[in-house]
């Protein structure tokens, strides 16, 4: 079974649509910015990849993550040729932080925020009349988890059309705790490069419309071949190679593909030494014998870590890469870590002229929750 992706939308620091973001990734200009509203004196890290949409004057406002979410959901359903009445369409939202930034603004600054604002069903009801809505706080694999469960709903006959979306705004508690635990403080997010020092947060949202094969009104952007979801059950924050290996192998099995069938891998690539070493070691093993092996890239070097939505954002970039036959480079990657040397990481300028048919997208979250998706070009 495959599932059609018929609608796509995204917003991030480097663009307000999947095409804008893809073009920026290909252009490869440094995109980090000094912290926009957090008190720089309180943190060691000075940069992040925030969306620059706060009002003039510098104060933060609540519900930015919710605003991006309703925007991308509206754009994705329009892109799929559907109306804005989602009363009969399930909406599955993956997130790391929910509206915890709004919670902080309520607690610290008495912003007008209620318990019902913490999950996204409240806004989806008000905006689209949607009731079959779910907020999954599944850390940084949340949107690929949600995609997997959306394909289950269609397979089980519970729906023909499901909207899958993700959103996250940077929080002081999250940014700050990361700031506390990282040994070296990164100036920029540099996945798989020997200069990598750690992760910096980004902000963003992404949405897709997933439909039972052949039931949509418009063109099909790509087809989901399979999504694996599992858990390391090993460590609260560190990744585990065994769990990640199982996730990749299960995704291949579900999609009915072998390692040599995969043309492109969108890496999780957070820029933490622990992630980068673990992920590239597992990939070297999984793709051993599949030479020359797939192209690989990692978008967080330019978007920052957009947390819950990052997996879906990577997926959208994979879809556009397959459409264009172009793979954006990993910004700042000049000297790959030893574990990544044999991988087909794109450096410097975009890799053009490839025939890309099948892509793998990785997303790994805190708590060892892993999701791997296989998508196929629709031609």
């Amino acid at each position: 079974m495959t599932w059609d992706i018929t609608g796509m939308a995204a917003v991030a620091n480097i663009g307000a649509s999947p095409r804008e973001i893809f073009a920026a990734l290909c252009a490869g200009q440094e995109s980090r910015r000094p912290l926009q509203v957090f008190d720089a004196g309180k943190y060691r890290a000075a940069y992040a990849y925030e969306i620059d949409d706060r009002p003039e004057g510098g104060d933060d406002i609540p519900r930015r993550a919710t605003g991006w979410l309703t925007t991308v959901v509206r754009q994705a359903v329009a892109n799929a040729g559907l109306g804005e009445d989602l009363s009969q369409v399930p909406v599955l939202v993956g997130t790391t932080m929910r509206e915890q930034r709004s919670l902080e603004l309520w607690w610290r600054d008495h912003a007008d925020v209620a318990l019902a604002d913490l999950h996204f069903g409240t806004a989806l009801k008000a905006t689209f009349g949607a009731s079959t809505t779910y907020t999954f706080a599944n850390a940084c694999s949340a949107t690929l988890y949600a995609l997997g469960m959306a394909t289950d709903m269609i397979e089980l006959g519970m729906a023909d059309t499901v909207v899958v979306a993700g959103t996250d705004a940077a929080t002081e508690s999250g940014f700050g705790t990361l700031d506390r635990v990282q040994n070296d403080i990164p100036d920029a997010l540099r996945p798989f490069d020997t200069s990598h020092k750690g992760m910096l947060m980004g902000e963003g949202a992404a949405a897709v419309v997933v439909q039972r094969a052949g039931t949509g009104n418009g063109p099909v952007h790509a087809r989901v071949r399979g999504v694996s979801i599992n858990c390391d059950a090993r460590h609260a924050t560190a990744p585990d190679p065994d769990g990640i290996t199982r996730a990749m192998q299960d995704a291949h099995r579900r999609a009915g593909v072998r390692a040599q069938d995969i043309d492109l891998v969108m890496l999780h690539g957070t820029g933490t030494p622990r992630n980068d070493v673990t992920e590239s070691t597992v990939l070297s093993r999984v793709f051993h014998g599949a030479e020359p092996g797939p192209r690989m890239t990692a978008i967080k070097a330019m978007t920052g870590h957009t947390l819950g939505g990052s997996g879906l954002l990577s997926l959208l970039m994979a879809v556009l890469a397959m459409k264009e036959g172009t793979v954006p480079p990993v910004l700042g990657l000049t000297d790959p870590i030893p574990e990544a040397v044999g991988l087909g990481l794109v450096q410097g300028t975009p890799a053009v002229g490839d025939h890309l048919n099948v892509a793998q997208i990785d997303a790994f979250g805190f708590g060892g929750i892993n999701a791997v998706t296989i998508v196929e070009a629709a031609r």
């Binding site: 929910r98 607690w107 610290r108 988890y145 519970m158």
Partner: protein
Amino acid sequence: MTETTTARMSHPRTREVVVTGIGLALPGVATYRDLLGPLPVEGGLDPASELRGYEMRHKDRASRLALRAAEFALRNAGLTDAEATFTGMADATAVVVSTNLGNVDAVCAAADTIAREGTRGLSPLGLPETSSSVIAAWVAIRFGLRGPNLTVCNGVTSGLDALAWARNLIVAGRAEAAVVVGVEPAKEVAMRLLCAPSIDAAAAVVLEPADAAAARGIQPRATVAGHARAGDLAAAMTAVGVTEERSVGLWLAGEQDAESGQLLAVTRRIDLEAQLGPLSGALGVLQCAAAAAHLDSDATGNVLATAGGPRHDATAALLLTP
């Protein structure tokens, strides 16, 4: 679409999923059978003594409560040995946690600390808690459960929704068993958000396919027969197939609303929150435990559990049958 999606939510391709274990960790409820009578009763969780020990070190309160309830539920399902080690299929056992307030105190405390003394004042041990997924991770780590790991933060319907997603994971073949935990800690920020005092509450149930339970010789406590999250109570009830009043022997209602009495005139109606205070993400799983108590007893009829309503973004309904 000619047929509504919500209506079809309740009829996925059938692989019957049943409740095989129940575990509670909350004060004022000693056993799940107490949930049918007036509450609170004497006994139940003593947070001062029962949330300590080696396994609880460096874990947040919600995770501790969840670990207790999950341990009891797995034991009750016959899936642990004398050392409380999991003996089931670890690669195919899912963890599904429902919580809305689990880490809200940690988030606000971190923001306070940063404002006061910068990030150097934070404890590195607080890192897992910044993510709401921490509770499900600790449950998976404690019992080595490597199947899907899901955290549902979906407002007052979360617990019922979590049960439905656990059932989906089993019906879709992604899991052969699931531990579902609804948990909320009684902490300051949580209570301020709830605008009411609340209690520490965790409830866990184990779900398995009926055939797997039968193969293990386990008597099912309840069957998860249908779930819907819909715009109002009438739509949710229709979607789960509650059209005949006689079939429902117990209605585990959420908040009262004016019309609800007219929709379903059942002989017995229990509002757990009216007795225990707001339960938020713990409610639905506790309702499932209460349903099992009803279905265990001499009483007749199915159990309808509902949550949400006009003051919320949806109403969820879960139908439990023998």
